[in-house]
């Protein structure tokens, strides 16, 4: 039996629960696989390290991790690899020396562009926008924001990014930061929250403060959690990839590597069951599909799935 640990940033987060669904699906499909779904309660690197230590002791075959910190986890994951455990990262990556493969939910640049585009689409005349991110150490968010900033001047010259703040994926902090943004930038037209926790908090603030129509909240959101804000108009549209597919793919890849059915090297192609296959780039990372956009027309349907 192959034991694959799906380590997430923190337990309880709807996004990761959905990913776990996909992971279990993959396990069933593969047959002889046991998926251990685990993670710390608070999104910290130390919490994940303790978990990695106990996974090493349990002799799991593979660890698929969405990292809270790209660097701090490296020593622990290196130790795991030395003890013969296959390590991949997914969603939020680990520095290359700490994993064999990294699975991006989507292309980083594409996400960066998408989150800006989501705001720009509804701002024909341009205006001030601000970003409300997760924790300041989240690898994936930082990469997306970086990419977004890069495309701004050329593709969206009228959009003016006034601030980036961090809500730490904590509803209270996110709420306060959103309020702070609204208070400090009276001309704010949109809040972009590329995190499922932050986007809900921001939309709630906009709803509470009667700013629907004045400020558009957008970013990455789980349809099931976010439906009401599309319905009430606090948000026009949000995007996300399919977390179920992401979890499914992570387990598939981990399984292929752990059972030596595939090898992690630049250029290699790994098949991932019903999702298709991915090809590794020269940092051994690969990206899945483009983010999918949700708006009034389709949110109803997707909110029933994840």
């Amino acid at each position: 039996q192959t034991k694959i640990a799906l380590v997430v940033k923190s337990l309880g987060n709807g996004f990761f629960d959905a990913a776990n669904k996909g992971a279990q699906e993959a396990a069933k499909e593969l047959g002889d696989v046991e998926v251990i779904y685990t993670g710390p309660t608070t999104a910290t690197a130390e919490g994940q390290i303790e978990i990695i230590n106990s996974l090493i002791a349990q002799n799991v075959n593979a660890i698929a991790i969405s990292a809270n910190d790209p660097d701090a986890l490296v020593p622990a994951l290196k130790k795991a690899m030395e003890r013969g455990i296959t390590v991949i990262s997914w969603d939020s990556g680990v520095a290359p020396e700490g994993r064999s493969v990294h699975l991006n939910p989507s292309d980083t640049n594409l996400i960066g562009e998408t989150i800006i585009k989501l705001a720009a689409d509804y701002l024909p005349d341009g205006g001030d926008v601000a970003i409300l991110s997760a924790s300041s150490t989240a690898t994936n968010q930082n990469a997306w924001i970086e990419a977004a900033k890069k495309v701004l001047p050329e593709k969206f010259p009228k959009i003016n990014l006034v601030a980036t703040v961090y809500g730490d994926d904590d509803s209270v902090k996110s709420t306060n930061e959103a309020k702070g943004l609204i208070a400090s930038y009276p001309n704010l037209k949109a809040i972009i929250a590329p995190t499922t926790v932050g986007v809900v908090a921001a939309a709630q603030v906009v709803t509470d403060d009667n700013l629907i129509g004045k400020i558009n909240v957008t970013g990455l959101a789980l349809p099931s959690e976010f439906k009401q804000f599309i319905d009430n108009g606090a948000s026009q549209a949000v995007a996300l990839w399919n977390p179920i597919d992401l979890g499914y793919s992570a387990v598939q890849i981990a399984y292929q590597l752990a059972t030596k059915k595939a090898e992690a090297k630049p250029g290699a192609t790994i098949s991932i069951g019903r999702v298709g296959s991915i090809t590794l780039d020269d940092t051994n990372s690969a990206a899945m599909a483009a983010p999918f956009q949700f708006d009034k027309s389709n949110i109803e349907e997707f909110s029933k799935i994840y």
Partner: protein, 330 residues
Amino acid sequence: MNDQTPATRHVPDRLDNPLRSALFSWPSLLLVVAVAIFVANSLASPYFLSPWSLSDATFNFTEKALIALAMALLIISGEIDLSVAAIIALASTAMGFALQFGIDTPGLVAIGIGTGLLCGAFNGFLVTRLGLPSIVVTIGTMSLFRGISFIVLGDQAYKGYPESFAFFGQGYVWWVVSFEFVLFLAAAAIYYVVLHRTSFGRRIFVIGNNATAAQFSGVRVERVKFVLFCLTGLMAGIASVLLTSRLGSTRPSIAQGWELEVITMVVLGGVSILGGAGSIVGVVIAAFIMGLVTFGLGLLNVPGIVMSIFIGLLLIVVIALPIVYRMVRK
């Protein structure tokens, strides 16, 4: 004097049997608990009883336990330091900052420990010189120290520590015996001697029991307390070196919430939170207990937050046990 007074009577040194009282002491109770948990763990998980597992298990608590040693002394003296976790963050930031200027391993270690010492001295200054309650002061410095890390680092991280620096948090001295663990055992031995075998240790107990009487007896209360705050800062600095080395990087958010875990360790070890009583042996056993419980449950993939229920229950039950026993017997 009065001639009817009977001849001076002999007052014996002690009436109780030291062996017997040691047998019924807090550390023995803890030891029983520790052994029980050890046995339970080995029954519950087939992976537990392997040398590498046990060695890995020690990493989960040695850094906290190092701080707990000094914290025990501080709490016995009637003070407390809630800023230790923030000191770890600040000391780590200082090391990362120094790293940017190409300072090598010995220098980094010195800076980490030195920063811890300075932070401890700052706490000590506020508490002893300005006469402020330590629990309040250290709630403030807890935000201040970590806040400074955030100011310096923001959303950035320091990484790229030299290879040789990795030894402190990841190195092994002999086979499965890690450097961290050896350091902890050595520190525990030193703290044991300091607290129980020196006049400095005696003064700590006296201060914790009655600081006024201690002062009236010529104990330099403020100075002793200041030294204890410095020691606690120093140990937090050492823990910071170990943790930074183990993580190989610095973020301002490291070691979040450790202060309560350290204090739990100390209290579980039988140190009276009101001051004046406690032992290093108890604290060491308590550290092992907490390490064993978390690692054992980790092997069963129990989420950390559920483990904390066990720790919380353990704390209350172990402390309540002797009290309930006494009540029932009466």
